[in-house]
Symmetry: C2
Subunit: 298 residues, 2 copies
């Protein structure tokens, strides 16, 4: 058995889906949960996602082989501090936070030399839904998990967390903390900010009723991420603020370039940019798809 006792701190979409996937894979004997919302925790029991829960985090992590922190970024430092007294030396801690630099700093502050037990991780998966009710065992299938192992980590700890995610059907890759935060600022944090800014912009217009009434599928796809959890995303924007601000500035330059082409009726350059972008997107996403297909087990 890969994991005898698993402790999930925060049994929401990600924590709940991980519990479901590990249980289905049969790699986990017992799952204990911790969370603030009593209704959500009881629902997690009813749905069979976890075996038990407690509002005492030291009880939840005691004897655990693996602890998974799946709570908003800003809560991680106090939670790590609170669980430290009952943390056994055999226990490996990981997290699912969307920005890794701030999480590593929080873990360093809270855990001191027990930082070696902390293997930072980030599943590139999710929906705009929240809570255990939205969780499902297939969430990580064919998705990427990025681990950002620390120099302090033992190899066996990193391997255990890798195998945990692979047993959920995911592909695990390693990046440095800094590289992760740069890539995610570009592919995830910036798009979320753009979607929030767009919907906020349209909501403030006189025609906002018509605007949403006449919206097409493309608009709904484009703004889906603006329905994401506000607490989680304000945390992420602050946590990865430096890199995100640089990305926003770069985006602003590109938008200004297109704006200049429109204002000068420069149809030829506009078509050239759009054609280059379409080619990039189509090619890159095809490569990504083939990468995931190749990594699938036979």
């Amino acid at each position: 058995m890969l994991i005898n006792k698993l402790a999930i701190i925060g049994v929401g979409l990600i924590g709940g889906s991980l519990a479901r996937a590990l249980r289905r894979a049969g790699v986990c004997n017992h799952i204990s949960g911790y969370g603030r919302d009593e209704t959500n925790m009881q629902r997690a029991i009813e749905l069979g996602v976890i075996d038990e829960y407690s509002h005492d985090i030291t009880r939840v992590v005691a004897d655990a082989d693996v602890v998974v922190l799946a709570t908003p970024l800003a809560t991680m430092e106090p939670l790590l501090g609170a669980l430290l007294p009952s943390l056994q030396t055999k226990t490996i801690i990981t997290d699912v936070g969307s920005a890794k630099g701030s999480v590593v700093q929080a873990a360093r502050n809270a855990l001191g030399d027990r930082l070696r037990q902390f293997v930072p991780g980030h599943p590139i998966a999710g929906t705009e839904q929240s809570g255990v009710e939205a969780s499902f065992a297939d969430l990580f299938v064919d998705h990427m998990i990025i681990l950002t192992p620390l120099p302090e980590n033992e190899t066996t700890a990193v391997e255990t967390i890798s195998r945990m995610w692979e047993s959920c059907g995911a592909t695990v890759v390693s990046l440095s903390v800094d590289h992760h935060d740069q890539v995610l600022a570009a592919t995830s944090h910036l798009p979320h900010v753009l979607a929030y800014a767009l919907v906020d912009c349209l909501a403030g217009m006189n025609e906002h009723d018509e605007i949403f009434r006449f919206s097409a599928g493309g608009f709904r796809d484009f703004t889906r991420i603006a329905s994401s959890n506000p607490e989680m995303w304000s945390d992420i924007c602050i946590a990865n603020g430096d890199k995100l601000l640089k990305m926003i500035s770069q985006f602003e330059s590109h938008l200004a370039g297109i704006k200049a082409m429109i204002s000068t009726n420069d149809r030829d350059n506009l078509r050239e940019v759009f054609a280059r972008v379409k080619h990039t997107r189509d090619t890159m996403l095809a490569e990504r798809q083939s990468l995931l297909s190749r990594k699938k087990p036979d």
Copy 2:
């Protein structure tokens, strides 16, 4: 029979899907097509989308009850000029262009006092695909069609075009030309520009390989519209340039506001904006869904 002979100018995704839908609804006897791409036109015949085609536009529109222009915006004025010599007084012309002010100007230039036969229209439907191969009869089901009738139009002409679209399963609404272009600048043209600018921005980064490799579903949804037809979209941006430029400027202000909150670590205001946006999007899209449901025939 609503339409004895239908002429489709441009048998691509939209023109082909309209032909398929009308044929399925049994409201059209004969469909004649016109297009530049010989392979596409032959494929349209093989797929049974049209009954015949010709490279002579005057032959295609002769005797037609309804002519549908489904070509890029920049081609409409020359095409209207070319078809005018064989245009009978009974024939109603409509189009599917995404910007209406420029199309009405093109029609006025090309048709003169025959403008009364031209009923401008815009189906709020599409995918990022192009060509007759991508067309399908269900494209307009539960979608909105915006007509922007002109003072010159006869009521019966507007009614015929409305009934044509309703027989495809769509909901038809009327807006003024100016109102249409304002609403579409906000819900469609601005999001396309943002998606193109984002992908262009990321493609220029050193880490662009990782960026696309680690992209999640949200990113792919968000950038789907950046795979749209470059010719069509450069045309739209120029055609609706004035209104689009104003929307881009408004968006830039909202983005600058969020950027300022991030740079001052203003988590509370960020969360407030994101929560307001999520509420707006969830509420507005729910209302839109219920509007479409109510309008469905029993």
